[in-house]
């Protein structure tokens, strides 16, 4: 049985009411941060250990020279090929049966390896507990057959959740309706993410949204090359040493001279 789920965020329907942001905090019992106005409705300024989802506000100028206001609900993309899961030393970050990336905080050791690994800049460290904290797509709610808090709260239907094929079809249909630069974001990289966007502009227009996210080459070299190489190289040396011993033999001193006065007899 395939229980893989996809959360679809249709940005063309988002009104930036931030209901999802509040619902997320409420369900996950996260405190608010004290922030200062920096000239934007965006608040807090970035994702935090206690802010797993954030509406980003961005002003752009369109072709006709008119101001356009872009809203984007930022948060964990729940990659299929998740860099954070690849680098986690203790398997604290893991994929659940729904395909989302959850974290077992009992296993997390606060090593912070996942922070630079993530192509979306999602994992954050809670300094008080020294544990990584990030969106788990309301895993406990999914287990109870309930939608994530953000989905439940969304008044315009911009955030919906469902099985992979349904949501992909829905996203593609919506993009066709919108036309122009609208596109589906999330199905073309890291083996597909479990969060899908319908973007109204090209991906590169959005701030903090990589146009072509991927598991960094350095992570592939580290985990797919050097990690096995460590054992292979050491194993080859041990095997080689044994072969050397039984074929060539040890380099034994020609004479054992410990006689009186240290002179050779």
């Amino acid at each position: 049985m395939n229980k893989q789920l996809i959360k679809l965020i249709d940005l063309s329907r988002c009104t930036a009411c931030r209901g999802c942001q509040v619902a997320c905090k409420q369900w996950n019992e996260q405190p608010a941060s004290i922030t200062h106005n920096f000239g934007s409705y965006q608040n807090p300024p970035d994702l935090e250990w206690n802010t797993w989802t954030l509406i980003r506000f961005q002003e752009i100028e369109d072709a006709a020279g008119k101001v356009k206001w872009l809203f984007r609900k930022d948060g964990c993309m729940h990659c299929t090929d998740a860099a954070c899961v690849r680098v986690c030393p203790t398997e604290a970050l893991y994929h659940t049966e729904f395909g989302n990336v959850a974290i077992n905080t009992d296993k997390c050791i606060g090593c912070k390896a996942c922070i630079p690994a993530c192509p979306f800049g999602v994992p954050k460290l809670n300094p008080a507990t020294n544990r990584i904290s990030k969106c788990d797509l309301c895993y406990t709610r999914l287990q109870a057959n309930q939608p994530p808090a953000c989905v439940l709260s969304c008044p315009t239907g911009a955030i919906t959740i469902g099985d992979v094929d349904t949501m992909l079809a829905k996203a593609n249909k919506r993009v066709k309706e919108l036309g122009g630069d609208a596109n589906v974001y999330g199905d073309k990289f890291v083996d597909g993410t479990h969060v899908l966007y319908v973007l109204t502009e090209k991906p590169e227009v959005y701030e903090h949204l990589p146009a072509a996210p991927k598991v960094a080459d350095s992570i592939l070299v580290w985990k797919d090359v050097l990690k096995p190489a460590g054992l292979i190289a050491a194993g080859a040396v041990v095997a080689g040493a044994f072969l050397h011993y039984i074929t060539h033999g040890p380099k034994t001193p020609q004479e054992e001279s410990t006689c009186e006065g240290g002179k050779n007899s």
Binding site: H244, K251, P253, E255, S257, E260
Partner: protein, 218 residues
């Protein structure tokens, strides 16, 4: 101690050697416990993986200090190659792998030992630097941090492989070597076989210390 044994190392050398060796070994084991998920079980021995991480980090500081002493102590003797004899030795793989008619005479350290020293020194510095940045990542860019993880893994691969070469040679590969790092005294036969040029140099310079002679006379 038997009469006629030759003094190869002093107590300071041996203490520094074991400080760097044991801390390096501990770092390899705890590092592997974090790199290979199946070895996470090692964390149980110290009360969990978080404790293991903390021990790994602080042991790294001990290793860094030991490495500093190691480099200051040995770089002149073991860090510099002398040509052309060291090149000859390397081309002949030290006479370890195939039959070589005429081997250049080896001084206090053979080029293999020099390579091991340089590997530990260079990659040891890489490990300390990358390890500190991974430990305190604030202020570094994502690209720098990603590079540090690769370098840390690369250093492990090199040092861990070299460790087994070292272990083989000082135990069964070149018998008689190990006492140099335990008691400090080795047999004349061993020095003559492994480091003949060094023996000649010490005899010429009058720095040869033989048990049962001079101040070591009973």
């Amino acid at each position: 101690m038997k009469k006629g044994m030759i003094k190869a190392t002093g107590p300071f050398e041996r203490v520094v050697h074991w400080c760097v060796a044991l801390s390096c070994l501990f770092l390899c084991i705890t590092g592997m416990a974090m790199m290979y998920h199946s070895l996470n079980v090692i964390g149980t021995l110290v009360g969990g993986m978080e404790n293991l991480k903390v021990l790994h980090n602080y042991c790294g500081i001990f290793f860094a200090v030991s490495l500093l002493f190691t480099i200051l102590m040995w770089w002149r003797e073991a860090g510099l190659f002398s040509f052309p004899e060291d090149m000859q030795w390397i081309m002949a793989a030290g006479g370890y792998l195939w039959k070589v008619e005429k081997m250049p005479e080896v001084g206090k350290y053979n080029p293999g030992q020099k390579m091991f020293f340089l590997a530990v020194a260079i990659f040891g510095i890489v490990m300390v630097a990358s390890g500190l940045i991974i430990w305190f990542p604030d202020g570094y860019t994502v690209d720098t941090l990603r590079l540090m993880y690769v370098l840390h893994a690369l250093g492990f691969v090199v040092i861990f492989a070299f460790f087994f070469v070292h272990l083989y040679l000082v135990t069964i590969g070149a018998p008689g070597s190990a006492p140099a790092m335990f008691t400090g005294w080795v047999t004349r036969g061993w020095v003559k076989t492994q480091h003949p040029k060094w023996l000649k140099e010490m005899e010429k310079d009058g720095t040869l210390i033989v048990y049962g002679e001079g101040k070591y006379r009973k």
